[in-house]
């Protein structure tokens, strides 16, 4: 399932030629629309790596969970720390689970 | 020239707040064609309103002379709609009777 961009939050990375999500997307799927907001141009090609969701500086991108993992309403939200990612997993019943993982960016 | 944005069909009562920006500079009186023909001048009418004396403002002899030429509204440096206030005062006067 493709990432969904909240246009009211997205500032197109200040409408530069290449927004952050476009740079990090491994499939080169994200791009800037004519309104200066980012969107996914081939939703069927997205394999839910969530790179764009993690990098978005204004938190405008949300990844919908594919049905194999959780039905509509389930959410997986990353929050990037300096060298950790905090994951919040919400299933369709509203049950919340949280994980903290170290990243080795340093 | 500034365009008048005030509606001419407005007949709401005059609010004292509208006259708050008035600094009593006298532009309206000077540019008024009829200001000195009566005992009061448009500036004075605004002053009555500022002093919270709407009755005296509404019964001012000046109101009968006002031709609604809008010059006062256009010259007012503070942007007070003087002519509009005069018009609504006249209306309120006749609503009494």
């Amino acid at each position: 399932m493709a990432p969904k961009v909240d246009f009211s939050k997205c500032d197109g990375c200040k409408a530069q030629d290449e927004p952050l999500c476009e740079q990090v997307c491994p499939g080169n799927l994200m791009t800037l629309g004519e309104n200066g907001k980012a969107y996914c141009r081939e939703t069927s090609d997205c394999w839910d790596c969530m790179s764009c969701t993690k990098i978005c500086p204004v938190g405008a991108i949300e990844t919908r969970m594919p049905f194999q993992l959780g039905y509509h309403g389930a959410k997986l939200i990353p929050m990037m720390g300096t060298n950790t990612i905090t994951w919040t997993c919400i299933d369709i019943n509203g049950k919340v689970e949280r994980f903290r993982c170290k990243t080795r960016t340093d | 020239m500034t365009e008048l944005t005030h509606s001419t069909s407005d007949s709401s009562p005059v609010n004292r707040e509208e006259t708050a920006p008035c600094v009593q500079c006298g532009y309206c009186s000077a540019y008024c064609e009829v200001a000195f023909l009566a005992a009061d001048t448009p500036r004075k009418v605004l002053r009555f309103l500022q002093r919270n004396d709407p009755d005296r403002a509404a019964t001012s002899s000046f109101l009968m002379l006002c031709k609604q030429c809008q010059t006062c509204s256009l010259t007012c440096p503070q942007g007070v709609d003087v002519a509009g206030i005069m018009r609504r005062l006249v209306r309120s006067r006749f609503l009494h009777y």
């Binding site: 530069q16 740079q23 938190g59 300096t82 905090t86 903290r100 | 532009y27």
Partner: protein, 801 residues
């Protein structure tokens, strides 16, 4: 490079014995000894004794310790002293970390000592974590140009140039007219002393004449300002003079043969008529000049200039008679590049176009309605015994009217007060009365604003019987357009009675606005104008500075000023500019560094830097221009990948500091708050709270940041993920941020984070941003206490263990 393991020397200073009374210090020392990186720790009672300092120095020299953490309270002066004393042992002054235990309530709070003990340990650990990543730093010295560029050679610009020349600095003085003097050269008299402005100009020109360090670029204007403080590159476009300045001896033979007469308008002697037409003023012709004439408005440089557009085709009479062959009618305009350490904009003012004013009192319709600059010219001619060329005949003046605030203090035009016109009008009346004692003057005014010493002039004018002050504005009528008199009817707003006067001359006191050249300069140098469209820095704290370090503004480019205020302002600007003209610029080494292995080239830092100091290196990575950078850290806060860090205040250090907070010093239910305080306002407010005996809650840990905008969301996320219950980011009030808008940027970012927290099913109240002013100590305590209560209601952070 070989990686060195940091060796921290930890010194706990308990000067008053307060901390020792509240907690078990020997126990704390023992535990601190086990902290990562700490090699040695000691309890100190007198850190100023030479005995103690020599022991520390010995330890540093033997290599036992290579950086220091100081626990306890140290004022900025004491910190500086310790840094200096230990620099004798070759300890870099950036290798100190300070842990203000007193600020955090240790030894102040009445709470049980167990909590204080644990908190003190956490704080020491945080300081040690900070110290582990400290780097020895030395100030950077950037070679700089010692020349200055001054834009505008009015009275302010001349004073700036004179100040630089006195200090021996080379000056490029750029003037768009053919001569210096600006508006002051058009005036008839200064007030309140009634001296001739030409005398004042001569006074300042004395130090300019013959100086080999001064380069005067007349008929020039800057077209680009590149670079940063110390190394500006200013592109200047110079129009041809058609006369060689060096060879012209000013004999004037050329003007005698010149066949052209150009009218001189009363309010302006601009060389370029299109410019004048654009302004729409200058109706009064007071004199004529030849197409070749001395420099205007004031005869310096002492060379003639040709107004080529007025020359008849093929005429070269002047060329023929010139005894020194100075006239070169084939000159062309040229562009040059000037190097400068600092740029001072003294671009001055323009009169507000009177024809634009809706109540223009017949200006441009009746020939005897003039502006006050034109009046200055008339007075100047009268005092020289000359009459006006056109009407009105000056000798027959009987009644003269003056209208104040024409265009100023008017919501439709200039909302501000032009501040000089009231006194200028009284000065003109006084001069007029001294020339023609039987003149009656009428002043139409709203309020007479004669500040300071000018009040005496006003009182003297009030006492005169021939000067009538009417509070109210007139309407001007006339029987026919070219009549010698106009009729003014005004309401005296004190009595409500109409006052009718027949006036021989009506003078309108027009407003002052930033000159055309000033707004052009602001545009080419990328400087914002303030609400009143003048150049500005911070109106109160650093008025002459601008958002670009090294570009300063003085005189009427900053706002309406009289001559003496303008000279004041110019000299202040010159004083500030001298800092950049030492031939080298020293830069504090705590500047931002971009980690190019992490940077994603998203350009957000470039966009959000308040001082526009980022440029791209050859590979497209952003790079700060250190001369422009003010080290506020907004780039560090804004970087989405946390790749930018200020030296010795890095993201890594902040993360390490927060990392040691993993085990809370409080009970599970008791909320812990991490407060990022702006060091300009909020931190000082917290410090003042302690000094004034206010009790700061023990739940809070304070981190000093250079600007609230330096707090990165990743750091906040780290803290939340570690179970910190609440994050408070305290910056300045809106519009008061020393770094333009750091507080607004951080509010926007924490708003984004709050929305993210909501989707994560975490209460958004856990991240809060507040505005705290320096006087707000009591309010800060209230904010914190209320926040603790709110957090208690919310319950512990879900990530808390």
């Amino acid at each position: 490079m070989e990686k060195k393991i940091p060796k921290i020397g930890l010194y706990l200073c308990d000067a008053g014995g307060k901390i020792g009374a509240a907690i078990d210090l020997p126990g704390l020392i023992e535990k601190c000894g086990k902290t990562k990186g700490v090699e040695y720790c000691e309890l100190v009672t007198d850190p100023w004794s030479e005995d103690f300092l020599s022991r520390v120095r010995a330890r540093i020299k033997t290599g036992e310790i290579d950086r220091l953490v100081w626990g306890g309270r140290f004022t900025a002066r004491q910190q500086d002293m310790l840094k200096k004393k230990l620099a004798e042992a070759d300890l870099n002054s950036h290798l100190h970390a300070w842990c203000d235990l007193e600020l955090h309530g240790i030894g102040q709070s009445t709470e049980e000592s167990g909590v204080q003990q644990k908190k003190a340990l956490s704080l020491i650990k945080m300081a040690a974590a900070h110290a582990r990543f400290l780097q020895p730093l030395e100030p950077l010295a950037i070679p700089a140009t010692d020349a200055a560029v001054v834009v505008g050679a009015g009275i302010a610009g001349l004073h700036v140039a004179a100040s630089f020349l006195e200090r021996g600095k080379p000056v490029h003085l750029i003037e768009q007219q053919s001569g210096v003097g600006g508006k002051v050269a058009l005036l008839s008299r200064f007030y309140p002393l009634h001296c001739d402005p030409h005398c004042g100009l001569e006074y300042v020109l004395k130090s300019l004449r013959g100086s080999d360090k001064l380069t005067l670029h007349t008929l020039s204007k800057p077209t680009a300002v590149e670079g940063a403080a110390g190394n500006f590159s200013v592109t200047v476009q110079t129009e041809p003079r058609y006369v060689d300045e060096n060879r012209c001896n000013g004999c004037g033979q050329c003007a005698e043969v010149c066949p052209v007469d150009i009218p001189i308008f009363g309010d302006s002697v601009q060389d370029e008529p299109p410019y004048q037409q654009e302004k729409g003023i200058g109706s009064l012709v007071i004199d004529t000049r030849k197409a070749i004439h001395p420099s205007l408005p004031y005869g310096f440089p002492e060379s003639y200039v040709v107004e080529r557009h007025a020359c008849p085709e093929g005429c070269a009479k002047c060329e023929g008679v010139c005894p020194t062959n100075a006239i070169e009618l084939n000159q062309v305009s040229r562009e040059q590049n000037l190097k400068a350490g600092a740029v001072v904009a003294t671009t001055g003012w323009d009169p507000y176009p009177l024809s634009k004013v809706n109540t223009n009192f017949g200006y441009g319709v009746y020939q005897n309605v003039i502006g006050n600059l034109e009046m200055e010219q008339l007075l100047s001619r009268m005092s020289r015994g000359l009459d006006n060329l056109a009407a009105p005949p000056l000798a027959k003046l009987k009644t003269v009217g003056f209208v104040q605030c024409v265009g100023s203090r008017n919501n439709l035009h200039l909302s501000y007060c032009s501040s000089v016109c009231c006194s200028a009008t009284i000065k003109q009346i006084q001069q007029l009365k001294s020339l023609q004692p039987d003149v009656t003057c009428v002043v139409y005014y709203q309020d007479m604003r004669c500040n300071g010493f000018e009040e005496d002039m006003y009182q003297a004018a009030m006492a005169s019987e021939d000067i009538l002050f009417v509070r109210g504005f007139p309407k001007i009528t006339s029987s026919e357009p070219d009549s010698s008199q106009v009729t003014a009817i005004a309401e005296d707003t004190f009595s409500g009675k109409p006052i009718k006067k027949d006036l021989d001359l009506l003078v309108l006191a027009g407003g002052m606005q930033l000159s055309q050249a000033g707004s052009e300069f602001a545009e080419i140098s990328g400087l914002p104008l303030n609400d009143s469209n003048f150049l500005t820095g911070h109106y109160q704290c650093y008025p002459e500075e601008s958002q670009r370090t090294g570009i300063l503004s003085g005189g009427c480019a900053r706002g309406p000023m009289n001559v003496s205020q303008s000279i004041d302002s110019a000299n202040r600007a010159a004083l500030k500019a001298l800092n950049f003209l030492d031939g080298s610029i020293s830069i504090n080494p705590t500047f931002p560094i971009v980690d190019k292995t992490k940077c994603d080239e998203c350009k957000r830092c470039v966009e959000e830097c308040p001082f526009a100091c980022y440029h791209y290196d050859e590979k497209g990575f952003p790079e700060p221009d250190l001369g422009k950078c003010r080290q506020c850290g907004n780039c560090m806060g804004t970087c989405p990948v946390a790749a930018i860090s200020l030296n010795n205040f890095t993201i890594k250090q902040l993360a390490a500091q927060i990392g040691v907070l993993e085990n809370s010093f409080l009970d599970y239910e008791d909320p812990v708050i991490l407060a990022f305080l702006c060091e300009n306002d909020a931190y000082l407010a917290a410090r003042a709270a302690v000094d004034s005996g206010l009790l700061l809650p023990l739940n809070v840990i304070y981190v000093k940041v250079p600007c609230a905008g330096a707090v990165n969301n990743a750091v906040v996320a780290d803290a939340l993920a570690l179970g910190i219950d609440g994050i408070l980011i305290a910056g300045c009030s809106d519009g008061q941020c020393h770094y333009v808008n750091g507080n607004r940027l951080v509010q926007k970012r924490s708003g984004d984070l709050r929305e993210k927290l909501t989707t994560m099913m975490i209460e958004p109240e856990r991240v809060r941003s507040e505005s705290v002013e320096i006087q707000d100590s009591a309010r800060l305590v209230r904010i914190l206490e209320a926040y603790i209560e709110d957090l208690k209601e919310l319950g512990p952070n879900p990530f808390k263990v």
